[in-house]
Symmetry: C2
Subunit: 493 residues, 2 copies
């Protein structure tokens, strides 16, 4: 407990907090719990009228050969952190390996780099930060490497060498049989709901391994409630059960359980999984569903990308925000959003999270009235811009294509880069493209066969849109690549 002590809780709220006391059993019939005092090992029994389980989730440490050793740690609480710091102070490791590229893995990697320790990050998936899609994660990959983190993506830890108490080095074997020598191994491959008490009490456990609760946070036993990382909670968009080990939902669930126990008729308002992580100079954030999930669930969706400045470009300190917006292709309902950038990322995802929760659609995002002065935003904010772009797609005013379509280009299509000649000279064309700058299209129509489909792109999508409008008005069949060359580059890293 970082913010309170047992004494402060007692004097302020008249609530008794017993630290170093572990609940070891629940007796549902007797409505009692058995508690072990971890200081003197005494066991004792307490009755309850209502019981709230909030045991959290514990770091998942896979059963890898050799993983139990004094140089391998995971991070859940302050004692864990103290142990890692003590080891660093003692051994002065030159190199550390972080296994797992989620929130905790990335935060640890950054913290280790700040202590000037060389870091290798091993991640089984092809990308870090599972909640976002790979093209967004690719910006993090660049950022991590730029800050000296060596990435081993798509690789799993398979074995750890034997390690004697006096050893300061581990040899790690990855699943491609490559070896890695390291002085500290942090296991951050995820957390699993702490359900042993619930299992032993025969409370219903969901398919994902979390405690099952209803909309009132009640478990299968009506006197027992469960909240936080230990439970499965309903996804805001689909209603499906999921695990979302985040502090804000845990907080809301805790309040709700208390309110329900005291007679309130409130229900849980579902979890959007709004989350954010600082990765060196970048922030990455998301809410709702990502594209991977939408595909997996075979849900219909469309997506647009906007790369726009965090605030007016003519005021110092503006940085691009890359925003991916996922929406229902017919209703325009907001399915999810992801953003990455140096500044203003939290604000944009919060705005979209509120809009999503309120049931607004991408059409409504156009007209959100947001703060504008040059140091804070633009007269048309990133979110408004994303709303405009998505609305054009939704209404059929613009046909778009995505960078993955480029692999199937055929004879009946012309790929046109409408950026300026100097941009193309610097960055190159996408293979197969010809270059006609947007402002020169009118005088180059002879290069464009009206029988063919014209696929245009620019740097971020805006000039591609202008070109597409122009050509559509002239009777061409045109599609614009959403997010432009920048998104293509991110996706093809």
């Amino acid at each position: 407990m970082l913010l309170q002590t047992p004494e402060s809780f007692k004097s302020r709220f008249n609530v008794e907090v017993r630290v170093l006391n572990e609940v070891i059993e629940i007796n549902k019939t007797a409505k009692t719990i058995t508690i072990r005092n971890l200081v003197n090992n005494n066991e004792y029994i307490e009755p309850y009228d209502a019981l709230i389980l909030s045991p959290g989730a514990s770091p998942f440490v896979p059963p890898i050969k050799g993983i139990k050793n004094h140089l391998t740690h995971s991070l859940r609480n302050v004692p864990d952190m103290d142990a890692i710091i003590a080891l660093i102070d003692k051994n002065k490791p030159a190199h550390a390996t972080v296994c797992g590229g989620g929130f905790i893995g990335l935060e640890v990697a950054e913290a280790l780099r700040q202590r000037n320790i060389k870091v290798t990050l091993v991640e089984f998936a092809p990308q870090v930060m599972g909640p976002v899609d790979i093209e967004i994660a690719n910006m993090l990959h660049d950022e991590l490497e730029a800050h000296g983190v060596q990435l081993k993506l798509g690789k799993a830890l398979q074995e750890v060498s034997e390690c004697e108490p006096e050893d300061q080095t581990l040899t790690l074997t990855l699943d491609d049989q490559s070896k890695l020598t390291t002085n500290l191994l942090i296991m951050a491959v995820g957390v699993k709901p702490e359900v042993s008490l619930a299992v032993n009490a025969d409370l219903e456990i969901g398919e994902l391994g979390g405690i099952k609760v209803d909309d009132y946070m009640r478990t299968s036993d009506p006197s027992i409630y469960a909240v936080g990382d230990a439970i499965e909670s309903p996804d805001f968009v689909t209603g499906d059960s999921m695990l979302a080990p985040l502090a804000a939902p845990a907080n809301r669930q805790g309040r709700l359980a208390a309110n329900v126990i005291f007679g309130a008729q409130e229900t849980y308002k579902k979890t959007q999984v709004t989350a954010i992580c600082k990765v060196f100079d970048l922030a990455v954030s998301s809410t709702g569903l990502n594209e991977k999930t939408l595909r997996r669930k075979a849900m219909p969706y469309e997506k647009v990308y906007v790369h726009a400045a965090s605030h007016a470009g003519y005021y110092p300190g503006a940085h691009p925000v890359t925003l991916k917006l996922l929406f229902h292709p017919e209703s325009g309902a907001i399915l999810g959003a992801q953003a990455v950038g140096k500044d203003g990322v939290d604000k944009r995802i919060d705005i979209i999270a509120v809009a999503q929760r309120a049931g607004l659609s991408v059409v409504d995002l156009q007209d959100l009235e947001l703060c504008y002065a040059p140091p804070f935003g633009s007269a048309r904010d990133v979110v408004n811009q994303a709303g405009l772009v998505a609305t054009n797609v939704l209404k059929g005013d613009e046909c778009i294509f995505h960078n993955d379509h480029l692999t199937t280009l055929n004879e009946q299509q012309i790929l046109v880069d409408v950026r300026g000649g100097n941009e193309v000279a610097k960055q190159g064309l996408i293979p197969g493209a010809i270059n006609i700058p947007v402002d020169e299209i009118r005088s180059n129509l002879d290069k464009l066969d009206k029988q063919k489909e014209i696929l245009v792109y620019c740097q971020v999508g805006l000039r591609g849109h202008v070109a597409a409008c122009l050509l559509t008005n002239l009777g061409y069949k045109v599609k614009n690549m959403t997010g432009g060359f920048k998104t293509w580059q991110l996706a093809s890293r």
Copy 2:
């Protein structure tokens, strides 16, 4: 035009932009406009099918004796700014006076201080930044003074001394007959809609002096549309006409007019007046109605204040955000919000602006799921906290009182400061209060007469709330002062 040139507009959009051409007359019957070429003074006529007026608003310069002189400027566009800079470069003024404490006045005052010019700010109202209420503006007053801006609040400029072309000094007389010597006078007392063309064409003008338009941005002539600073637009909360010279609404209105002309059935979604201003190290922002307006319109409202950290206190760089939330006392509808602080102010007002636009109530603010990681927010964000506090008030779970009630304390009331003894020693009590720290209330009940009304307060309202809950449960009649001592201090500056 900062972002485009006539050439770029032509080549990109095939739109002809004629700068230095002034429209001097509209002929509604003939559907033509008369234009004067300001370079060669030729006049010519152009026909229109649809006409959009977007002439903006011009700085209002009151007819004060002596105001027309070469040391007095106002600021609307880049040439105005260049003129001011040229004058500064030439005269090197030691002192400047800014008349008007709105967005532009404050931004100019800051810019002048950055050039190390002494600044006096004269403002007729008792506060700067009209969109917020005085207790919020008082934080700006402190900030301005801390940065060397001398404030003359509640004072109007009455007369300017005569000034010869070679003079570098003006003597200003204020309405309290005090005199002020200055080397540069910036008039920033507001803008007025540019309606001369519209008036001459007999288009309907609203009561506030702006061009009257319907929900489609059509003026009283169906072929003429008007948008931007020149029009009156409907207030989001009340629907009343108002003047809101802001870039984002202007932008939306411009798009809407164009869409309507091309057949769209869209209507204008009203103006919340979401606005923000940087004032040295602070940002001040607001959306919706302020308390002054609610009082003036005799609308029912309640208000709460929250002072909470911009992000988790244990992560470096957190600063308090002071948030005032105005809501309907029965429905909980969000009427308006104001925030001030060093960081995260834009985000909180944007979040509330979206919630307000979406029709969410203060009850919904509790459960907004916002980004949380220590560098960006808290597990329970400022906005969630404000939602909790307002909901308790709305549901009658907490009775609150406001600092202005303190002037009418009577014998049947006991004012109790529940802060710690050391806080009280440092900051003092509110006159008439006794001090019983929240954690010592249970042992000091003898000091509290159950027949009397107990008015509690703490620093920001949280411990006051805890004390109020405790005492209410014990059968006392209790009220908690929303926003606590901090709000009282701000209000009584």
